[in-house]
Symmetry: D3
Subunit: 261 residues, 6 copies
């Protein structure tokens, strides 16, 4: 059965990015997993949370916030602030983003600083949390590189890369990186968060009324590991390009990003 956009079963959607879309952040990236687009910003603050001071915990902290912009969904989504609090799903996702990033960052090397990760979804078509984690890792890496470059820290706090992707089973076929309609129809699906070394951070079954067998997990891990490897290569390219001047192909990419060919 062909996929809606003609991808093979273990193929990622087109992954694209624009660096430094929010120049006041220490680093930022607008990342796209197909039609899912998320602004990921990393901002360094020269202080740590009150509980760290009170408990006398050494080193720095890393925290994350996730929000869907009201116009990111097909039906407009009310702002969290109009309800007075973030919704449960947003809180769960931002805790996952924070946990995933802290799993690959040595907070001791950050000094008495906080890295704030902000993920704001501009367009949602499935996989906003996986795009957020993947983009947050890019933004955090660039932010750390800029701290190193300025001599504010002397050792790279990021010990590994972390990326995330969804996998699922739909009509018997194991699929990588589900878009919204695939996600809605899948029998089973899960979000995989892994490091570039292949170690796990989290395996989250995201389906309602669905469980998955060991065999299904193994099959989803096969396509998932392939996707994670590709994402980590793209992360590496993005991080390296952050200091370099733009090149000809960047313009074409940029034009494609906004649908102008």
């Amino acid at each position: 059965m062909p996929r809606p956009d003609g991808r093979s079963h273990d193929q990622l959607r087109p992954i694209d990015y624009i660096l430094d879309v929010a120049p006041h952040a220490t680093a930022s990236v607008l990342i796209a997993f197909g039609d899912t687009r998320v602004i990921c910003a990393a901002t360094i603050q020269d202080e740590v949370p009150r509980w760290m001071k009170m408990q006398n915990v050494q080193g720095g902290w890393l925290t994350a916030e996730y929000s869907m912009l009201p116009y990111s969904t097909l039906d407009r989504k009310d702002r969290d602030s109009s309800k007075g609090r973030p919704d449960g799903r947003s809180i769960e996702i931002q805790r996952l983003i924070g946990r995933s990033l802290r799993a690959v960052v040595d907070l001791k090397k950050l000094g008495q600083r906080t890295l704030c990760i902000d993920c704001d979804v501009l367009q949602a078509d499935g996989g906003t949390r996986t795009a957020s984690i993947t983009g947050a890792c890019i933004a955090a890496s660039i932010a750390f590189n800029r701290l190193l470059e300025k001599g504010k820290i002397t050792q790279q706090p990021m010990t590994k890369k972390v990326a995330a992707i969804s996998a699922g089973v739909l009509k018997g076929e194991t699929l990588l990186d589900l878009c919204y309609v695939e996600d809605r129809d899948a029998d089973v699906d899960c979000n995989l968060v892994l490091t570039d070394k292949g170690d796990f951070v989290e395996i989250q079954g995201s389906g309602e009324e669905a469980t998955f067998s060991q065999a299904e997990l193994d099959a989803m891990l096969v396509v998932g590991r392939k996707g994670i490897a590709e994402l980590c290569a793209i992360q590496q390219e993005a991080i390296e390009s952050a200091m370099k001047p733009a090149q000809a192909q960047d313009l074409a990419k940029l034009a494609a990003f906004f649908g102008k060919k």
Copy 2:
């Protein structure tokens, strides 16, 4: 290296329970995983959430709430209501409880009803979320049995049992069901949510600054599957005993529960 309470590496803490501690709930259980004690209550309401009516979704709904009572922790924890909102950790856990239960319940068979699961932690010593899921499954099963008994529903909505347990690696040893100090010191740990058929609902890496390899996952799954099987047997016993009169050993168990021998 011996464990603090002398257990073998793949041994659960003593699992105990008192049924119907909150008689106004449809069913309730005070479940203990060692010193971790959680009140799990299941209440049937004869209506469904507004969004189901508006979107014309058939069947029923299942929702969960999780809260730590202020005196459940070594240092008193402020009530969520005094801060005006549940904290992020509680929201994440209650979403996990709800998702885990919905994975094994056929909501269509529930009719236009909502099953509310409430998990209130009376004493916390590690594993409050795993005790909550395990106890919630007992309370929900008994509640469904009572609906069947009264003829309000004609088919059992619970298709499988679901239980949860933690596993971790501490100084090279794979441990089952970590208590608080083990959890604090573990190199790696995760929460496993599985059905009684051995299918996965979720594998959640709970460690900060820690990831786990495929080999570690496999080892944790070995002890975890053993623990889940034992928990499912205890769930079965509890559910069956719910309709039966008390017996002599119940009294001794009860006395032990509250430290009176």
Copy 3:
């Protein structure tokens, strides 16, 4: 006219208790006035509220919180935190509990500490505030005894005992300790908070569209004083038993508590 449970007009419901149900609290008790059951916990914190420090007030503080667990009522009650604030009735009751306890505690003798009283209703059948005050006094007394035993304080801060009970007039008869249906049908009823010396803390008319005459007050005080005296005896027994090992009759009491005979 006979009472629903056959009690005489000036008879308390069966009063029962389990000590230390929440071992992380300094002291706790699950108290039952018939089918009304409340967890009362007392937790000592080694600091005083900010306003005391700013106004340089000497001694300690005592505060109380009251909440109905969602499954304590016949129809499930939404959690305060889901509405973002405690409801007015809960706030009124927790202020009454705090005021009642502070009336019998010499805060100067507590040192720079705060005693937090938490009352969580497990099952509601009328009289949750009177059970809360009565149980809170037990928990606070035991907590103070434990502070004395550890040498943290040198003088007993509790100067008297305080207990509370409801009284009412139904079809011309003056009744003690109304259960829910009696409370609903009573022409007049009030909550009496008295010390073991017979002094008043508060007389609160709780009826809607009802007032009471001096004669009715006098009659209600007669049965109320009898009830308070009995409650104070039970408080004394509970406080004394807190340090002693369990005895044979404790097991039977425990079994009866949870409906197992």
Copy 4:
């Protein structure tokens, strides 16, 4: 020992009032107990709360809100809305006001309407809750009279008057209507809410670390009943004057009210 303002021990402070200070309310009164001044407004709304419709309760409803204006206290008090919720003391008082008024109103005779009582303290010098209840009764009575006059209702819903006053014991002397400094220094004090028939609505011990004996209660009731009788006479005069044109002495009273002689 003389009182700060030279009153005898059982003498009220000067009680004064201006009617209809808030002309958009159905009725309103600015009432003064000495330097304590409260705006009490009664507004009729042609609907009942949602819970009454859902539970199919007949008749009307009466609700009360109490607030201290930020400039009513010697140190400016933050607005409730700036903290996002009314403080506990305000909630307790507004519940007392509502309960006191409902005790003397036959809600059935109000029809499907809600009477909203609003009490806003303009200046606080002790006794704001007793002034609020006493003024609220005036405003509610006038509002009901105006409904009767317009033929919207055919029977007077107010069955009795209700008034409130404080009494206390200071250095052995029983005092009526304590001002702030007397209230602060009193050994014992309570708020008495009684009807014009002498029946009780509530006796609230307001002191911290203070209890009162039966003898003290009896003594406080003697002065309290005297004060309540005087307040009820003033209420009657105010209610009757609401329909009548102003007279010469009203001007002098008005001038005195705002310190112009």
Copy 5:
């Protein structure tokens, strides 16, 4: 076309005031623009906001809060605190009041103090924000005079007076100081905030679906400047009378204020 109350097109409504209605404030005034009545209070606090201390900003601060009392409108308006936050309109108005006052106050001369302006609407009939600004300027001026008198400050912080008035175009005629029905029917209207020197603070188009031309602005400014000049004269009289004893005409004014003649 005659105006509802017979005024000429460029005539203010009767402007009246009572000083020091809230004696605990440093200064206060109940100001009336016809049937619109607002309590404006100015309270001096001997501290500055946290952000000023943290940013090490010299001098004092001035802040304003605006609220409609629930009985100020024809249909009762829910309190902000019952919704947990002030409504958007109130926030906008209180920011305008604060900005208008700060435009004429030299905060450096205030020392490390905060002037809190509170405007509470007692009766609303159009122009509550213009009455608030005009009354707030009176209260602030008197408060500063009292600080000077006590020697707490040595220089007058208020450099100019500020007043506000509405102007509009209705059926081709330019009108000053619109009451509610005029405001509702006007084609165009705006709020003008000017100093007594004729300088602008703000020109706010308040109409929905309405814009105004340069010619209309010029015409509205002609009547507006006339109104502002008259308001500034009344402000001056009020400020001067604050220290003086009452006179005969004050009593008549007071009687008229409350509808007693």
Copy 6:
């Protein structure tokens, strides 16, 4: 005195835009006034607010929300949702945006629909509210055109264009479109909201401790009207280009937008 970026005194910053950055909105634009960048989205919802239904108001509604993304400022700004409510400045600005757009939209022609305007600031360098209004008008126009194109409405609801710009006086010189440092140092500045016909919506003095004379207003209006005219031309170009395919110069513009040449 030269401006920081070398502009003449009456010259706008470079105005740039990318259309449809948020494809799930009915129309959206990322608009730049120099380094100030705002995402403006217009979303049509097929329903009107509850108050319109209850008051039986015909036609549609238009509402606006404004928020600064946390990474838009030099120091990270906490999200409104983390504080439980939008801050006062955001509320004031979103009310101005809504009022400005409603002034040029005939809501009757919109039918029973709501147009939601969302303005999220990506980068702030002065003038975020003027960029928001100007961009919101583009997004709303395109959204209406798309409704017309689909035949959902038959008449253009937008009767005029509306745009906004700041003007100020700095060291005696009248400047157009102040960037952050100019805004901070200006003696006087205001925000002008005008239609493409030159009619006023609002003139808002934005300075603290600053007022402006008639002469200054006239001078600011001269440069302001020039800026508004240029902005309206750019709005027209953007609206027309929304339906057309991309052209060569679009790519170069896009590249320049993100700093790639």
